[in-house]
Symmetry: C2
């Protein structure tokens, strides 16, 4: 299958690599060509713009940073929709706005194309090991048509409903992560302050009722002082903002999410927006 | 081995049952004899008081509700320490105060006995399936001596340090659970409010970066409207209070824990203290 893939950052690079390995013809395009170098050496083709990448592709995937980037990649003057062939399935795997996903689905339909929103969870490791969770919104036949591609990149692949529901589900996921990061940070901060051995504490609390993906995957990084981005603080702050927007529209109170927004704003204010989300733990304590 | 076991509530009953099945002589005592009926039928012996249960026992275990109950079971007029033989190892598996654990260890030592604090995590299911996490504070030789008993009741069994460190580790665990319950409740509330299918949402968010014990074990109960106690709200409120006490002593700020304290106080105020901790989700939404 010929696949356009736009956005080869921490996540996109691994994901496009899995599609290549599965034997597909992958044409990549990304803002910083150097970030696509490994993929090009592994056999991917290069295109200067999303429009070029999408020419003649059966599937076009975006995995970029912010909703405005998604919009640009799809509807911009050099976007997918300027060249997409009839019947092309366009998939946005960025975590983005549910409302934008619905708009893009209409725009794709107007051109005789199909659209899916398929944001992912599982971080850099999930992307590398092809164990991502992929939450999909769109029409069932389109979902079935590209399911083998999703299966090359992820493990838990679920169609949630119509356009935008993949993004809504992803925001529900981010809401879970938000308080989950507070949980991990505060448990470790308490252990540190009370003089517990952090290694054995983590061993104990990872196995019981407090167990979480964050404790199992990110807490060990905190203990090593490793704050490199698996998932960027700045992107998480965007996700939290998207979730808060929808919560306000729906008039629901999410005080844990609001607390996470406040704490992560402090992380950004401290100049740590380019670190991984585990940097929240530093708001609470720093290992000496 | 002859073991005294005091407290046969939701958790204690399963735990004492595993010791029985492992071939030990178990003497139980509990406030409400009816709650020990199954154990007595399975071969446990009955004692009217902790003191009676402890007479001639090599190990005496308490698994009760509150720190004051622990104190009564150990140091009260009918407590373990009135009859405990020299060399007896006393273990408190209740989640209780770290300071009390240190005091009880001294009281035990004064009588020629040993003491361990060994609170557990994993809820009713962990207790039933003998997969509990057991966090132990005390001396290494005493820990080694009773490790086979812990192994009959749990899976992740770690000595954290001296007296009280088992309790401190458990409080770190409860701090993780506190924000973890907010995470689960808010993710489901958001999904509910935005019209997502809760079953497929849960399927997606249980597998990625938001995954947690609460999502895997308690969220399905929320979806079924099952708020029966695996772990009582009223006991969790006690644990949160113990953790906040230590946090104040150590002068550390834990805003997520404070939020959980506020939200769970509302659950209690709504007369739901005898429900399971998953009842927090009802603060956010109720399925129709």
């Amino acid at each position: 299958m010929k696949i356009a893939f736009v956005g080869t950052g921490v996540m996109g690079k691994s994901m496009a690599g899995h599609l290549l390995k599965a034997g597909h013809e992958v044409v990549v395009s990304t803002r910083t060509k150097a970030k696509a170098e490994d993929l090009l050496q592994a056999g991917a083709k290069w295109a200067d713009t999303p429009a070029e990448a999408c020419r003649g592709a059966q599937v076009a995937i975006s995995m970029v940073g912010y909703p405005q980037d998604v919009d640009e990649v799809w509807r911009g003057p050099q976007g997918f929709l300027t060249t997409a062939a009839q019947g092309c399935i366009l998939i946005d795997m960025t975590t983005s706005s549910p409302a934008l996903a619905r708009e893009l689905a209409q725009a794709a339909q107007a051109r005789g194309c199909a659209a899916l929103d398929g944001p992912v969870s599982g971080g850099d490791r999930g992307a590398r090991e092809a164990t991502l969770t992929i939450m999909v919104g769109g029409a069932a036949p389109d979902f079935e048509a590209v399911k083998p591609l999703f299966a090359a990149m992820g493990k838990t692949i679920v169609l949630q409903g119509g356009p935008g529901t993949g993004q809504l589900c992803k925001l529900a996921n981010q809401i879970g992560i938000a308080s989950g990061m507070i949980a991990m940070s505060e448990a470790l901060a308490f252990a540190h302050a009370t003089g517990l051995n952090l290694e054995t504490t983590l061993q104990s609390i990872s196995g019981g009722g407090a167990s979480s993906w964050a404790l199992l995957n990110l807490a060990p990084r905190v203990l090593k002082g490793d704050f490199a981005p698996g998932f960027y603080v700045k992107h998480f702050v965007k996700d939290i903002g998207l979730a808060l927007d929808v919560a306000r529209e729906q008039k629901i109170q999410l005080p844990g999410l609001e607390l996470a927004a406040k704490l992560y704003d402090q992380v950004v204010a401290a100049g740590q927006g380019d670190l991984g989300t585990q940097a929240l733990a530093r708001r609470y304590f720093e290992l000496r």
